[in-house]
């Protein structure tokens, strides 16, 4: 089924009762906003406790070195310094930072200390910690810690690292952490990819391409911050995290503190994008410092620390071989990945690219598929999830290849996709990667996007500009994507050797006054769960939207949960909430039957009211909640109260999809790119709040565009992060962007009642190839078939003037961002003026 979403605008946040209206699908303005727009937000860094001490980190300036001595005497003598900790001081206590996903039994996982003990492996690694009465005094004293290093050779380039000439961890004997393969012939899900490639070499088309996913930095706006209060029975840790439950588990396991003695609170959290899906050295250090001093301790990172030492994302070399028949019917794809772990195996580590292992086939029907992945150590900041985590990389590869194939066959980019995609009649469809896509309608989303975009008109304009040799050329880029969301069925995670499950929990507390408290195990940091969850409860229980309070992020309140990442909150946590509300109704029915002297089988529930079928006798849910609370007249054996909880373990992933279309104008004389138009139609299943969904799409699309055009973590030859401030790491500004046209089709998820598929990552997954395809499309008349990301003016200019080069020799140093005058003049930092 396909339906167009209509987004109503304007405030609906009045105080009147909303019982009876349909909340799911309504563009509610957010409950969260009131505190955020008035500055009454509870960020971790706002927390001040009596006697609180402050931490400052001493970080390695070297990418690889032996620590020969750490002299803390002068720092310890500085004003108001309480103590200075080194790795040697905490060797036993600190344990090793966790990796929850050993992708193979043989995976090489070096110990990962929070404070380096005798060796540093990336520039930014912590070597000492100053604890002082104020943050300023801690930072002043950090300058006085004298560390002696003996520099060691560092390996920074991913391909060089794979050659094992310089080792990041000599003890391991190699820089390769593991090798992981998915092969359709071996799995029985398809034919042999080598056979299909051989066949295509004889009588068909073989495309061989190498694409680079540059290193990115999540760059959430709120720097990481941790406060630990060691007083009382439990240790309390406030953390700017996406994952309070997982942090609690690992504080306990790694620091050997009994799990029931740890409470973790994620208060208001200012963005994450995967970057706060981490158990951090600084988090453990704050806990260790608080336990040692017996005082509350706080650490808040600076922005340069955040860019340097919070985990990075992406960073892959992709070698791709696509086999097709002459008419453009694809028969197979072979994927060889080198992925950069940085210097340690992080929380998800080598597992992050595996989230893309099933997605290199996109929305298409291929006969054969093989995926080979080798995660490699380098002397750089460790990598982990960044918005999309594995799936943007896969989507980029296949969507770039489909455009290359269209060019090769000589048909339109959309036509080549139509020849290969799964049609809507074919769902549920089991792919050659072995996953069952439950629902979707690629034809409908594409048709709608095409019309909204004005595809044919823009193609006509492109032809005119090409014929006129216009110095400003128009490029049109297509991306028809799907992703696997709703992480994740626990059984499948077990098969993948992931260390936890993928279920989610919700509780509903029916308060005697008719108000409702909802507790969710997911942990929002900008997604608007308080609003969306209230809408779900209002619909399911027939209570007013305003009468629902959503509680989250505190492990003492939300005792059970697996937190927020992988577009899972609504698709998994939302369904848990639906189940919990259903249980409230089921619990109430015997009481209603008892009070109204009717049979339970005759009790109906609709829009907040229980009624005896066929009569006018009934009770409101608030009245029933009060009766269940008072417990004066309960049926025999019924426990007082109507509270209920549920834990939902998804039976399958969800598969949002969509069609994104991008038009860019390229000044062929300068290489400058201007976004002209961006249209996307996303099918995310049932939409609870279209306002929030549109916002997620806007933000995701922007981060994907930024990967295509601007952002890259750049290191110099010594391994120092050059782009370690917002002067150099180019998070886009309002002036870099345009307004977007967003639309929807709706194919509800079929494996749970709510029907939502997830939207957090969709934009970031879809938009990067749409933009790069548009850039390449604009440059086709110049013989250009690829431009490396980020597609800077310099790279584009070079591609135009050196057709074979495709944007220059792909070495790390060439990744340095350069800007011509026209481009820097548009930036905020004044560098161009």
């Amino acid at each position: 089924m396909t339906a167009t979403e209509t987004v109503s605008t304007g405030s609906t946040s009045g105080t009147g009762s909303t019982t009876g209206r349909r909340e799911i699908g309504s563009a509610r303005t957010r409950k969260e906003d009131q505190r955020l727009i008035t500055g009454r937000t509870k960020w971790t860094d706002n927390i001040v406790l009596p006697g609180m001490l402050h931490l400052a980190m001493v970080r390695s300036p070297f990418a690889h070195a032996t620590i020969t001595n750490v002299d803390t005497a002068e720092a310890k003598a500085a004003p108001n310094v309480v103590t200075v900790l080194t790795g040697a001081d905490v060797t036993e206590e600190q344990g090793s930072l966790p990796n929850v996903w050993a992708i193979t039994a043989e995976q090489k996982t070096p110990p990962h200390p929070s404070i380096a003990v005798d060796r540093v492996t990336f520039a930014g690694e912590i070597v000492a910690v100053v604890v002082a009465r104020s943050a300023a005094e801690a930072r002043d004293a950090a300058e006085l810690v004298d560390v002696d290093y003996e520099e060691l050779p560092a390996v920074l380039d991913l391909k060089e690292a794979a050659e094992d000439r310089v080792l990041v961890h000599p003890d391991l004997g190699t820089n390769k952490s593991a090798f992981w393969q998915l092969d359709s012939a071996a799995a029985g899900t398809g034919t042999s990819v080598d056979d299909e490639i051989a066949e295509a070499r004889r009588d068909g088309i073989v495309l061989e391409r190498e694409y680079r996913q540059q290193r990115l930095i999540p760059a959430f706006m709120e720097p990481r911050s941790f406060v630990c209060d060691p007083t009382g029975e439990q240790i309390t840790l406030w953390s700017a995290t996406q994952i309070p439950h997982i942090v609690k588990f690992f504080v306990s396991v790694v620091l050997a503190i009994p799990e029931h003695k740890v409470r973790v609170i994620a208060p208001d959290v200012g963005g994450g994008f995967g970057g706060k899906l981490q158990v951090n050295p600084e988090e453990f250090i704050t806990v260790m410092a608080a336990r040692r001093t017996g005082k509350p301790c706080k650490y808040t990172e600076t922005r340069s620390e955040s860019l340097m030492a919070s985990h990075h994302g992406r960073d892959q070399w992709q070698r791709l071989t696509l086999a097709a028949k002459k008419d453009g019917t694809v028969t197979g794809i072979k994927v060889d990945l080198l992925t950069d772990l940085g210097s340690y195996v992080s929380l998800l580590g080598g597992g992050t690219p595996l989230l893309g292992a099933f997605m290199f086939i996109g929305i298409y029907k291929f006969a054969a598929y093989q995926f080979n992945c080798t995660p490699v150590f380098t002397n750089k900041t460790w990598t982990d999830a960044y918005r999309g985590a594995g799936r943007p990389e896969a989507t980029f590869a296949i969507e770039r290849l489909m455009d290359e194939l269209a060019h090769e066959v000589g048909v339109d980019s959309l036509e080549i996709r139509e020849r290969n995609w799964i049609t809507h009649e074919e769902f549920p469809f089991t792919t050659v990667a072995g996953l069952e896509y439950d629902s979707g309608n690629y034809e409908a989303a594409t048709a709608k996007a095409k019309e909204m975009f004005g595809y044919d008109e823009l193609r006509a304009e492109q032809t005119r500009r090409r014929e006129a040799n216009d110095p400003v050329q128009l490029g049109i880029g297509v991306s028809t994507f799907t992703e696997m969301c709703g992480l994740a069925p626990s059984r499948i995670l077990g098969q993948l050797n992931y260390g936890a499950g993928g279920w989610e929990h919700a509780s509903v507390r029916m308060l005697p006054t008719g108000k409702v408290e909802v507790i969710t195990g997911v942990s929002p940091h900008g997604q608007g769960h308080e609003t969306a969850w209230s809408q779900i409860v209002a619909d399911r229980l027939g209570v007013a939207f305003e009468d629902v309070e959503v509680l989250h992020g505190d492990t003492q309140v939300s005792h059970k949960g697996l937190d927020t990442y992988g577009s899972r909150s609504l698709a998994v946590g939302g369904q848990a909430l639906v189940m919990a509300t259903d249980r409230v109704i089921e619990r109430a029915k015997p009481l209603v039957a008892h009070l109204l002297e009717a049979s339970v089988d005759d009790i109906e529930f609709d829009s907040g009211r229980f009624a005896v079928r066929g009569t006018d006798r009934g009770l409101g849910i608030g009245e029933v909640a009060m009766a269940a609370f008072a417990a004066h007249n309960l049926p025999d054996g019924m426990e007082p109260g109507l509270d209920a909880e549920a834990t939902y373990d998804p039976v399958g992933f969800s598969y949002p999809h969509g069609t994104h279309l991008c038009a860019v104008e390229i000044d062929t004389e300068t290489g400058g790119v201007k976004l002209r138009k961006y249209t996307c139609v996303d099918d995310v299943g049932t939409i609870v709040n279209p306002l929030i969904v549109a916002g997620q799409v806007h933000g995701g699309v922007t981060q994907g565009i930024a990967q295509a055009l601007w952002e890259e973590a750049v290191h110099d030859e010594a391994g120092t992060l050059v782009s370690a401030s917002f002067v150099d790491y180019l998070v886009p500004t309002a002036a870099d962007l345009i307004s977007f046209d967003t639309g929807h089709t709706t194919s509800p998820a079929t494996n749970h009642a709510l029907g939502s598929k997830g939207v957090g990552e969709a934009g970031a997954i879809a938009s990067t190839p749409a933009v790069v395809n548009a850039v390449v499309d604009a440059l086709r008349p110049f013989g250009v078939s690829d431009v490396r990301m980020p597609c800077t003016p310099e790279r584009i200019w070079k591609a135009i003037h050196d057709q074979a080069g495709g944007g220059g020799d792909p070495t790390e140093q060439d990744a340095m961002p350069h800007f011509d005058e026209a481009d820097t003049a548009d930036r905020t930092d004044g560098a161009g003026a």
Binding site: T9, G10, S11, S13, T29, R30, E32, D33, Q34, R35, L36, I37, T38, G39, R40, T41, W43, D45, N46, A219, F220, M221, E222, P223, D268, V269, G270, G271, F273, T302, R303, H525, G526, Q527, G528, L691, I692, A694, G695, Q696, H698, G699, G700, V701, T702, Q703, S725, F726, V727, V731, T733, A734, A735, D736, L737, S739, F740, R827, T828, D829
Partner: protein, 154 residues
Amino acid sequence: MTRINVQVDGASYSDDVEPRMLLVHYLRERLGKTGTVVGCDTSNCGACTVHLDGKSVKSCNVLAVQADGHEVTTIEGLAQDGELHPMQKAFHECHALQCGFCTPGMIMQSIDLLNENANPSEEEIRLGLEGNLCRCTGYHNIVKAVQSAAGGAQ
């Protein structure tokens, strides 16, 4: 230590501060005005934007001593008698915030933008906000909110 006298959100404060103390640290740490936040070290992000004598400044780029004798308005001083400022309302109505960390600075800058130019074009709004970074919204709804507030002011 230097003695400063500052009006912040309508109240008078008199404090001894270190000459190196930044205005944003004075607001947050001494006055508890935690609505104003710090997002970077290089004056790029604009999260700490406040008004100094009615004009927007990045409070990480002003020393507390420079505010001596001046009037500071933060996000916490915008609403009057419980009534939100029209720009706060516009941000809420247009869903111009997600995580909300950039929002205080973004709202303060947006007000300044309309004070300078009551009827800006989309391009003028985008240029006027380019000193304030947002990682969540792609600026789409922030631009709409400023347009909406400008429309409401007419």
